[in-house]
Point group: none
Chain length 202, copies 4
C-alpha cells in the first residue's frame, strides 16, 4: 500500500510531466539554450508551478541526469567470470549492452541529453556526468583486464581501449538517434560486439 493518495499521485504525475518537457527542451537546446519559458510552455503550466516542483533550472537538469544514471547503473555490473554456473562472459556483456542501449534509445530526448550534455554552468552536474562516464569506462577497463588475465583477450592498453569502446557505444547511439530507419538494438549490439571482439579484417 504505497501512496494511494490521489493528490499525491497527481503531484507525481505533474512532476513527470515537467521532467518530460524539460528533457525535450534540454535535448533540443542544451542546458544554456533551454529556457524555463520553453519548458513550462511545453508542459502547459505556469511559471510558478515549475518552481513548485523544482527549485531551479539546474535542479531539473540534475534530476533528469540522476534518474538516468541510476537506471543505467542498475543495468551495468561487473562481469562474472568465476561462477561457472553463470552465462559465458560474452553473453553477459551482450545482455548488459542490449539492456542499456534499449533503455537509452527508447527515450530519444534523454539519449540526446546524455550524448551532448557537455557544458553546464553547474560545474557539479558536469562533473557528475563526467564521473558517470568515467565509471563506465572503468567498468570496461576492468572487464578488459580480467579478460586478458583469464586468457580470453589479447594484452592491450586497457585504458585506451576502454575509451575507444565507450566512444563506439556513443557513436552507435548517435546513429540510432538520428537515423529514422535505424536497425534494431539487437542488430546494433551484435555488430558492435563483433567489431570490438574480432575487428573488421577478414
Amino acid at each position: 500500500m504505497v501512496n494511494v493518495d490521489p493528490s499525491e499521485r497527481a503531484k507525481q504525475e505533474r512532476r513527470r510531466q515537467i521532467l518530460a518537457s524539460a528533457k525535450v527542451v534540454f535535448a533540443d537546446a542544451g542546458y544554456h539554450g533551454a529556457s524555463i519559458h520553453a519548458i513550462i510552455e511545453r508542459a502547459q503550466i505556469a511559471r510558478g508551478t515549475f518552481y513548485l516542483y523544482f527549485s531551479s533550472k539546474a535542479a531539473v537538469f540534475d534530476s533528469i541526469l540522476d534518474q538516468a544514471m541510476t537506471d543505467l547503473r542498475a543495468k551495468l555490473r561487473r562481469i562474472d567470470v568465476t561462477d561457472t554456473a553463470a552465462a559465458p562472459p560474452q553473453v553477459q556483456l551482450r545482455e548488459q549492452i542490449v539492456s542499456a542501449l534499449e533503455y537509452i534509445v527508447r527515450d530519444r530526448p534523454l539519449a540526446t541529453m546524455l550524448i551532448t550534455a557537455g557544458h553546464t554552468p553547474d560545474a557539479e552536474a558536469t562533473e557528475r556526468l563526467d564521473q558517470f562516464f568515467a565509471e563506465i569506462r572503468d567498468l570496461l577497463k576492468r572487464a578488459l583486464e580480467t579478460g586478458v588475465e583469464i586468457g580470453l583477450l589479447r594484452p592491450c592498453n586497457s585504458e585506451l581501449v576502454a575509451a575507444a569502446m565507450l566512444g563506439m557505444i556513443r557513436g552507435v547511439i548517435e546513429l540510432l538517434i538520428h537515423q529514422t530507419d535505424a536497425p534494431t538494438v539487437d542488430e546494433v549490439a551484435s555488430e558492435m560486439l563483433m567489431v570490438a571482439l574480432r575487428g573488421v579484417l577478414k
Copy 2:
C-alpha cells in the same frame, strides 16, 4: 604576391588573435557560456573592435569550426586501392588518422570545441558540424565498403561500423585531451587500429 600591405597583415593578425581567444573561451565554457566579454578580455581588445572583425558571436564560432573542418578535410581523402604504386591501404589509413589526430590534439581548445560543440542557437552551425561528422562517417563507410569489395574486410553493416569507428576516434580524443600523461598519438593510433581491425580477442 598577395597581401603584402602591412596594415592588411596587421588586420589578419588581429583576426587570428581574436579567433585564438575565442577558441579558448568556447572550449572552456561552451557556446552559450562563452561571453563576448571573456573573449575580448583575453584578446586584449575593446568591445567594438570585436565587431569590426566578426559580425556576431555566432560568426566567430562558425569561423573557428569552418577553419578546423577545412584543415581536417585536407588531411582526409579516399584511400586509393587501385594505384599499385601507392602505399598499402592500412598504411594510408594509419597516416591519415595520425595526421588528423595530431592536428586536433595539438590544439586542445579546438579539440574540446569539436568534441563538445553540441548546441548553438545558430541551427546552421550545428548542422554544418553534423554534416562534417557525417562526411567523415561517409568516408569511413566507403573505405569499409571498398575493403569488403577487394576482399580485405569481412562483410558488415558499413553504416553502423562507420559510426562506431567515428565514435572510437572521438573517444580516444577525449582521453588524449583530459589525461595529462596521455600516450603519444602514434601509440594511440596503433592500438585503435589494432582494435578496429582485429578486435580484442586473442
Copy 3:
C-alpha cells in the same frame, strides 16, 4: 453577553494567532521583507486560511498597527490642570509615559514595528502611522503650551520641542528593545523626564 458562540471564539483565537505571527515576521523583516509564507508557517496554518481572515498582506499590517494605536490612544489623554483634585501635572505625565512604555516594551515585535515601520506600499497605512505620531506630537505640544500658560514651563517653540520629545521617547524605546540588560521602564521614564524637564546641566 456577546459572542459566546464557541466557533466564533475559535475564529477569534485563530485571528489572534495570525496577528501574533505576522507581528513577529513584520518586526523581523519589515513590511516588504515579510512574506506570507513566513507568516503562515509561524501560525501553523495553510495559505488559503490566511486569506479567510485577512484580505491581504497590507490588511494584517494595518490591523496590527490599528490595534496598537487604539491601545495607546486609550493610555494617552490631555493632562488635566484644572481639576484640583487630580494628581499634579508632572505625576499625570509620568503615569502616561510609564503606561505607554510598558505597553510597547512588553511586546518587542510590536515595538520594533512601530519604530521601524517606515514603508508600506500601502500609502494609506504609512499615512495612518504618520498621523498617529502627529497626534502624539500634538498631545505633547498642547501639554507644553498649557504648561507655559499656567506658568509651569518656560516659553518655547512648542512644535519643535514636541518633536524633540517624541524623538527622545523613540530613542529610549530603541534602547530598551535592543539592549538585553536594559534598565526598567520606571528608571527610564524618570531619567527621561528629568532630562526633558531640567536638562543635563548641573
Copy 4:
C-alpha cells in the same frame, strides 16, 4: 591636476545622477519597495547602464549610505575640554550639531533614507547603519561623561541620556523634513540645545 579627462568627468556625472535618482527612490519607497525600474526611469537611463555603474541594487544603497556616513563622521568629533584656547564645550557642540543638521537637511531624500532605512535584506548595510548610529550615541555618551567629570553636567545614566538625545536629533530632523515652513537649522539647534541642557521647566 586631477581627472580633467572629460570622459572621466562625464562618467562621474552619470554616477552622481544615478545616485541622486536612487536616493529619491529609496527615500520614497524604502529599500525593498524601490525598484531598479523606478531608479533608471528617474535617471533617464537604460537598464544596463545602471549595472555599468553599480553592481547591484544593494551596491547603490550602500554607496549612498557610506557617502553620507563618511561625510557626517567628518563633521563629528570628540569635544575638546582640555585646550583652553578652544571654544567652550557648548559652542563646540553647537557647531557640530548645526553642521551635521545642515548637511542632512539640505538633502531631503538622504535625510529620509537615514531616518527610515531600517530594513535591508543586505544585513551588512543594516548593520553598518546601526553601527553608525551606535557611534554617534557613543560620541554623545562620552561627551556626557566628560561633562560630568569636569563638573559641568549633573550625574546621569549616560547611555540612556545619549539614546534620548540621539532620538531628539532624529525627531527634529523628521520635523525639518516633513514641515514645509520649518524653522532654520540655527533656530532648531538653539532650541534643542536649550531643552537638552536646561529642560523645559521655568
